[in-house]
Amino acid sequence: MNWKRATITAGFLVPVIGLLAFGLTRDPKEIDSPLPGKPAPGFALPVFSPGEGKLALAVGDTVRLAEHKGGVVVLNFWASWCLQCRDEHVELSKTARAFYDRGVRFYGVLYNDQESYGLKWIEEMGGQAYPSLLDPRTRTAIDYGLYGVPETFLVTPDGRVAYKHIGPISERLLSQKLDSLLRAGTP
């Protein structure tokens, strides 16, 4: 048994093992979005669900991102067929109401769904505080590099994407992010 050759061979294999070990620490489904830090893609989308109270807008009104310079915008993509969207629904509405007076505007964007289903879902879920918009042909979702729903984007007052959250977002995390955005202008 030639131990020298055996050891050299073993040595060559160590990087392979190292690579596989590294692989165990990664999640291939987590893909970093290139969007945070870049200017938020503009959009002009129609309102289909008005929202409630002082947050409400008229159905059919167009919401333009460009008109929100100077204020923070929260964009949440959702769908009626999305199970996880149910988890965050109540907390989103609550946070929307809490931050309205500080200049933060929440908008839902319907993704790959029909308007009637969306409205029915909102009704079933007990209402939605903020307006929801239609995204015909999914152009805005693709513009934001959407992988699925729910996904939430935070836009700074100077129009850049500060943060992208994949999956249901909690009130605590959202409030935290919004607080730091409003204080400093960037997270």
Binding site: I31, P34, L35, K38, N112, R139, I142
Partner: protein, 153 residues
């Protein structure tokens, strides 16, 4: 013996050498004909481009192959952008801008990514050299005697 080798090698080279050269123009995928009422040239370009982009909601399918709704919307977007005069490179850059390098099914052939392109080529060249050397050694060694010490496999 040398002539025999040259004959076979030349035959082989004549037929295989053009293949990689012409492959540069190929998109890496044989284009399929999609018969639609619309401009078939535009369709072909859309198909070719969609075959190079990865569907974000599927497991590894291209936008062209994926039956999901998002993939269909993305194909529409590609078609619209091409129709508006953008080049394939510009459309690719748009998607990379939104989704990251991950969306390209063929890694950009720059920098470290070159490893995945060059490794097979390097292997064939080095392996070919080893085969050549080994065949020489085996044909010149006396029958029955152990060949020279070798560290190659």
């Amino acid at each position: 013996m040398r002539r025999q080798v040259l004959i076979v090698a030349a035959m082989f080279a004549c037929v295989i050498a053009p293949v990689p050269a012409t492959a540069q123009r190929d998109t890496g995928r044989v284009a399929r004909r999609i018969e639609t009422a619309a401009d078939s040239v535009l369709e072909a370009r859309t198909t070719a481009l969609a075959s190079e982009l990865r569907c974000p909601v599927c497991q590894g399918n291209s936008i062209q192959d994926s039956p999901s709704e998002l993939a269909q919307q993305m194909r529409d977007l590609i078609r619209d952008q091409l129709r508006a005069g953008r080049t394939p490179d510009e459309v690719r850059a748009y998607f990379v801008d939104k989704y990251g390098e991950w969306i390209l099914l063929t890694p950009k052939a720059t920098g470290f990514n070159l490893v995945v392109y060059l490794a097979p080529l390097a292997f064939i060249l080095i392996g070919g050299a080893i085969v050549w050397r080994t065949v020489r050694r085996w044909t010149t060694a006396a029958p029955g005697s152990p060949a020279d010490r070798t560290s190659s496999r």
